[in-house]
């Protein structure tokens, strides 16, 4: 179940998402100029109508000022369909009005788009992959605009290892296209002779249609296309599309999004490091486990000739060592490293022949398997066998002494 506010909000988002900015053709009626300076009217055709509003603050530059609007006039209006949530009213917010039949900006846009598309400037094959970890990134934009502030703040959060180089340019007005082109050229010369740039972001924040139109200039489009550094275009808001977006290697919906696309998130990098260490530790441990198994089978061969209780005590000792080993391994991640050296040492310790290696030996009465633990069954003249690390000694007993005799 929705509340009214919730539903109106969802409806507005759906409406704005589905339509974006569009050109709308219709006849003006019910025209009212409010004291606030806003202009309200209805746009209609022969079968339907929609409320429209043009706010005073939208833009001072208008080919056809709303003052000239009259009831009954056929116009082309550029704007966004939206829903005014408090009233649940569906309406069209107009940013630009032209007498019907002209649509000069739109026509120019469509013509240039078709021309460049035909020339292959939008081809996917020409688009280059972006670097995964760009360290030196150029930004062509106004140094005083919202775009550079957004890009800096996102980059600082995501990937402060990078360096940004701003190539200043105006991004509105008649001189803007030429300035953008020369800033892009500068960036390439800088990249070739000073610091190689991994990526270039070209753009500006949201603005009026005329402002954004700077990025529809053919010279700008060709400069972006010809740029030797991969380019992300970042112009205006989500729904604004410019010719620059089509020729760039990648389009970002906003300048902030350009920085999100350009840079990896340092949190992801940190997680990746952690994951790779955990995986490495597992693999080293698996290697040690394999050796442990091999050793176990070797131990098995060796103790084949030993009585059961001996085997038990040996394998118990081995278990103890291996458990210690495991503990050490688990601490290794946090303790960083040294534990593994211990592990190596413990592996050596768990060698079953270690006592023999140290100089101890095992003795039993000739013809018997049981190792001797005391002298109870021995008497002078008996023959015994002593097993060393390498080789066996056969001897005759000369004399037997108990511990008490010492």
């Amino acid at each position: 179940m929705y509340t009214v506010s919730e539903m109106n909000k969802v409806a507005r988002q759906m409406l704005e998402g589905a339509l974006g900015s569009v050109w709308l053709r219709g006849e003006v009626s019910n025209l009212k100029r409010a004291a606030s300076g806003h202009t309200y009217f209805t746009l209609k055709d022969d079968r339907a109508e929609i409320s429209a509003v043009r706010f005073k603050s939208v833009s001072p530059f208008l080919p056809a000022p709303t003052q000239s609007l009259q009831d009954g006039m056929e116009i082309l209006a550029y704007g966004r369909a939206t829903l005014y949530e408090p009233r649940g009213r569906y309406q069209f917010i107009v940013s630009l009005v032209q007498p019907a039949g002209l649509g000069a900006l739109q026509v120019a846009f469509e013509q240039l788009k078709r021309k460049l598309q035909k020339e292959g400037l939008f081809d996917e094959a020409h688009k280059r992959p972006l670097p995964a970890y760009p360290m030196h990134v150029g930004v062509v934009t106004s140094p005083s605009g919202a775009a550079i502030r957004d890009i800096i703040s996102v980059t600082r959060r995501r990937f402060p290892l990078a360096q940004l180089y701003i190539f200043p340019s105006s991004v509105q007005g008649e001189a803007a296209p030429t300035e953008i082109v020369s800033a892009i050229t500068s960036a390439q010369r800088f990249s070739a002779s000073h610091t190689p740039l991994d990526l270039l972001i070209v753009g500006r924040g949201g603005g009026s249609l005329e402002d954004l139109n700077v990025f529809n200039a053919e010279v700008v489009a060709r400069a972006i296309y010809a740029c030797q550094i991969p380019v992300i275009s970042a112009v205006g808001h989500e729904i604004d599309f410019t010719i620059s977006d089509f020729v760039a290697d990648r389009r970002a919906p906003t300048p902030s999004a350009a920085a999100e696309i350009a840079f990896p998130d340092q949190e992801d990098v940190r997680r990746q490091l952690q994951a790779s260490l955990v995986q490495n530790l597992r693999r080293v441990r698996a290697g040690i486990d394999r050796r442990e198994e091999r050793m176990n089978s070797r131990l098995h061969e060796y103790v084949f000739r030993l009585p059961g209780n001996k085997i038990d005590s040996l394998s118990q000792r081995l278990d103890m060592h291996l458990q210690a080993l495991l503990r050490e391994m688990q601490q290794a991640l946090t303790k960083r490293t040294r534990a593994l050296d211990h592990a190596q040492g413990l592996l050596r310790l768990s060698d079953p022949r270690l006592p023999l290696r140290r100089g101890y030996s095992i003795t039993h009465i000739s013809g018997e398997k049981e190792p001797l633990r005391d002298t109870a069954n021995l008497s002078p003249g008996m023959s015994i066998e002593t097993r060393l690390l390498h080789g066996t000694i056969l001897s005759n007993v000369l004399e037997v002494k108990t511990d008490e005799d010492r």
Binding site: P131, A132, Y133, M135, G138, P143, I148, R149, I152, T155, R156, P160, L161, A162, Q163, L164, Y165, I166, F167, P168, S186, A187, R189, F190, S193, H194, Q266, V269, R270, Q272, L273, Q274, S276, L277, Q279, N280, L281, R283, V284, G287, I288, R290, R291, R336, T337, L340, D341, Q344, L347
Partner: protein, 70 residues
Amino acid sequence: MKIDESLNRLEVITKRLGQEEVPLDESLALFEEGIALAAAIKTSLDEARLKVQKVLEKAKGTFAIEDFDL
């Protein structure tokens, strides 16, 4: 080493550690190398301060570079 080279090297290390025939000594050395690499990357991330500069081309190929403050 650049961060992408370090991360690539880490990947190579992980791959090598997954192979059965790696000698124990080598695998421990690789493990330590991986830890050192990861620690170096982490430190450089911890210490990183974004640097922003404004570049003006005074004459063709001659650049004036200054720190950029908002």
